[in-house]
Symmetry: C2
Subunit: 297 residues, 2 copies
């Protein structure tokens, strides 16, 4: 029994005439006859009572057509739903992002996306870099906004943005007036770092290593905003990505450019290698890129 046969039977029940039904089905009349006969044979009951001039439904036929119509409706609904997914009128896009970074770079892109694909549910997963690498390589996010370096070889990487890393020092710090700083001058400073496992912690350690010293870490936090507040309160100095720097009056550290080495971090979009990216996902990526190009964040 195939859907084709259900459709044929339903049409025949509507038209009560093999020739007309066949025509509506874009089929030759004998083909319809054959299929109906085959169907009846398979079911073991006759569905239609052929009589000259008219065709009636048997008891079994009534039941059959009732149910078959419902089934066909459901199949049509299913097709339509799949089409909607294909046209992205419907779907889900799971985006992984670093907590603070995402809060800065995603907001301009999200409303653009929602406007173009109102049927797509956006799910944000905020995790540390290392957790996101795992989630993304397992397909638990469609795409993720991460920072380099990325160790997981399963991931395809699209560069998005390279941004400066600055050194935050307390107001009144002896370096505060310079505007720029050479990291080599900071060997003795008390550093405030993010906790291990966060991507930016590794970057920070890398910078010190490049400058040739092991930093003295006096405090660790899971949250870069806490780090900044601690710096502003005079607890130490810290590396801060440009986009996270504060512009308010109070609780704001002084930000110094680093002049003796390239202090940047690269934000990227990552997704599982070989994974089919939905139209929604590719669209979101290009929206992010254009937002970044225009500096709209």
């Amino acid at each position: 029994m195939e859907l084709r046969q259900l459709q044929y039977a339903v049409m025949l029940a509507e038209e009560r005439n093999f020739s007309r039904a066949a025509e509506k089905l874009h089929l030759a009349q004998p083909s319809l006859s054959q299929q109906i006969i085959k169907l009846e044979k398979e079911l073991g009951v006759s569905l239609f009572e052929r009589r000259p001039g008219d065709i009636l439904l048997t008891f079994a036929g009534k039941r059959f057509i009732d149910q078959a119509s419902k089934i066909i409706d459901q199949v049509e609904l299913l097709k339509k739903e799949m089409q909607d997914v294909a046209n992205t009128n419907l779907g889900q896009l799971v985006i992984g992002s670093l907590p603070i970074t995402g809060a800065h770079i995603l907001p301009p892109a999200l409303p653009l996306f929602q406007q173009e694909f109102p049927g797509v549910e956006l799910v944000l997963v905020e995790e540390t870099t290392s957790n996101l690498e795992v989630l993304t390589s397992r397909g638990q996010t469609d795409i993720s906004l991460l920072s380099m370096p990325i160790s997981n070889p399963e991931l395809e990487i699209i560069p998005l943005l390279e941004e400066e890393i600055v050194l935050a020092v307390p107001p009144g710090h002896f370096l505060a007036e310079q505007g720029i700083v050479s990291l080599a001058e900071c060997q003795q400073e008390a550093f405030i770092f993010l906790k291990k496992g966060q991507g930016f912690r590794e970057i920070s350690e890398g910078l010190c290593r490049q400058a040739g010293f092991e930093p003295k870490v006096v405090f660790e936090s899971t949250n870069i905003e806490t780090v900044q507040s601690l710096v502003a309160a005079g607890m130490g100095v810290a590396f801060i990505p440009q986009m996270v720097t504060r512009t308010r009056r109070a609780h704001v550290p002084v930000y110094l450019s680093i002049c003796d080495l390239v202090a940047t971090r690269t934000l990227v979009i990552a997704y599982k290698k070989g994974r089919y990216l939905s139209k929604a996902a590719t669209s979101f990526i290009s929206m992010l890129k254009s937002v970044v190009e225009k500096g709209d964040f």
Copy 2:
């Protein structure tokens, strides 16, 4: 899109492995691959995410499998229902019958039938002979219990029973003591007939015509029981089929055999010519026959 493909996809979603799923479907693995690819192409979305060692459902795939499973379930249910009809665990049998006649001859057959086919709904339609002829020729009854003669050429006829017609006279009537009667003696009698349109009315008129006179009809009723009561009350004489005669004490006429001509009526089962008779219908007919043969009524 065909049911086969839905089944393949559902099985693949269950097994998460093309080779295993193909095996369970009694199919070579490439055939399954081909069908799934074809399905995905037709829908315009990929349903399965193939990755080494495992197969995951995409967003669209989840929705698809959900719905497809339901559809397949419904199709199975439909098949089962049709099988039930075929095995007559389910169905309907519409039996037309003459009001009084049916009340005598059907009762022994009905419980036998219900016992063998408890799932079949029995519908009794009681109508006059002429109405039943039309209903049956239109297929509004499956089979009908009628009396000859039948004018409608659309009907196939199976003889069931030939029964005597007797003449009912009031107790104390001058013929009452004879036990038998020659119709020729009854030319002057007052006759009570059924109303026109009832088959037995025609039979009654035919008997008088055969005996060579036009009966004097003093009363007409739609109900043969009323006719008998009227005879018992002394209003006249009437023809009564054997099986309808009363055996009680009160309100009982005297029944006389007719000796000067063959006074019988033939009860038959009639159905639309060329109509497929369900297993339920043929079974019912043979039950009726065996009831009649045994004289169980």
